[in-house]
Symmetry: C2
Subunit: 232 residues, 2 copies
DNA sequence: AAAAAATTGTGTTATATTTACACAATTCGA
DNA sequence: TCGAATTGTGTAAATATAACACAATTTTTT
């Protein structure tokens, strides 16, 4: 077999930031490590790229092992490759974030990985460069969600406009005007009125909408200037 | 030394798309390969990540070897990791694009690498997944330049507004209204009037501006909605 | 020397979008 | 039945955008 003889082969890891939303605050699915290295400390969920495995397949595998979910929304953030970032051995890590509906995932699978939902605002310090990874993930989530309709990935199939607003307020840690928010969301034409109402409410029951997946691609840029630039 | 015993080490490459602008059209700096594999075919400039080398350092090294320039603007696009993408051996490639002033780079260094400026519109087919990389790079350049003031990286230190407009027209392959373009650019307050005029012109000599690097960071989002969403 | 051609700089108006704010309707419990 | 909490919709002022016109500069042509 004809190879590249003079180059070094390096461990390739993948680390994922999984975001969730409980109706009030943004959460992270973090691992309390019961394995070496750094046993007992907190980290992101990760894994190594295998010899005959596509990168994308590896990302899906790692997300599946953590959540029991397939076809999750995720996107690459960047590849971390400082020499000493993993003290055990030179390892580069392809970092990505995923958005899931917090009630959808398999609790047993999370338990098996020793994973817990942690409020983003109270997150513990993480191993290696994982803190930096979370910082970049939040930055990219804020950037992307201001420009594109990806927030829906964090909500149930059917949701109300006030729920969506609370999500945006959590992502950007800022209050938003109810009336302008509603108009702006509806003007994207991405929401379909299901005709149902949210029965959980103790006051006026809000309309339940779902995402118009037909229009999702064509309207992917409809969120431009959704948040003011200062928020990003 | 404590290692991860059961994981596979993999070749890690970096491939870069170098954009330039000759005043009329967008150009790519491509390699006519005089080495194996795929000798004689066209490819992107690339190289392998070395054992004791930071990822960022490797990117700078590869860009330096090609252009003779340091501190070039570049950003990561994504990591390509399909199993068969390099037929010689499993290799993942971290792909990034760089923007340089086409007149700045060291011609000898480019010649040593067998590199040529190729018009983006007439580019030859490239090896491996490099065509896909260029497609993604152009997409990301269009996206980013519509939202942030990165186009300047492709121009000389001092430039005129009509030159900047031609650059944007090349990036988006579309004509723009001169008057609205000028007003929008000036409203960002990112341009400093140097007091000089472009002496190369055969008609009215345009004002030479330079980028206000003090304001560059704080105004990084000032380009939001610079191009209409349909362009991106 | 005057006129023509090419290009640059600035202004104006109609339209669309954004922001700030007000009021009416629904639901439940006191 | 009234009040509290929440949801849905409306309106007017300010701002931004898009479409368009004209004057100024420089070189070339007549």
């Amino acid at each position: 077999m004809n190879r590249y003889p003079h180059s070094t082969r390096i461990l390739v890891a993948l680390d994922c930031i999984v975001f969730g939303f409980d109706g009030e605050a943004l959460k992270l699915l973090l691992i309390k490590r019961d394995f070496e290295p750094e046993k007992g400390k907190w980290s992101l969920m990760g894994g190594f790229l295998e010899a005959e495995e596509d990168l994308e397949v590896a990302a899906n595998r790692i997300l599946y092992d953590l959540t029991g979910l397939k076809d999750i929304y995720f996107e690459e953030i960047k590849t971390f490759g400082k020499v000493g970032r993993d003290p055990v051995e030179r390892t580069i890590s392809i970092c990505f974030f995923a958005l899931i509906n917090i009630h959808d995932h398999n609790q047993d699978q999370a338990k098996a990985q020793n994973a817990y939902w942690i409020d983003l605002k109270n997150r513990p310090s993480l191993i290696f460069d994982h803190n930096q990874m979370v910082d970049m993930a939040l930055e990219q989530l804020r950037y992307k969600a201001a420009l594109h309709p990806i927030g829906f990935e964090l909500l149930p199939e059917k949701f109300t406009i006030p729920q969506l607003q609370k999500l945006y307020e959590a992502i950007y840690d800022t209050p938003l005007d109810r009336r302008n928010f509603s108009r702006k969301i509806l003007s994207t034409k991405l929401l379909i009125d299901t005709g149902e109402k949210n029965q959980n409410s103790t006051t006026k029951k809000a309309i339940l909408y779902q995402l118009d997946k037909e229009k999702y691609q064509s309207q992917f840029n409809a969120f431009h200037n959704f948040m003011s630039d200062a928020m990003i």
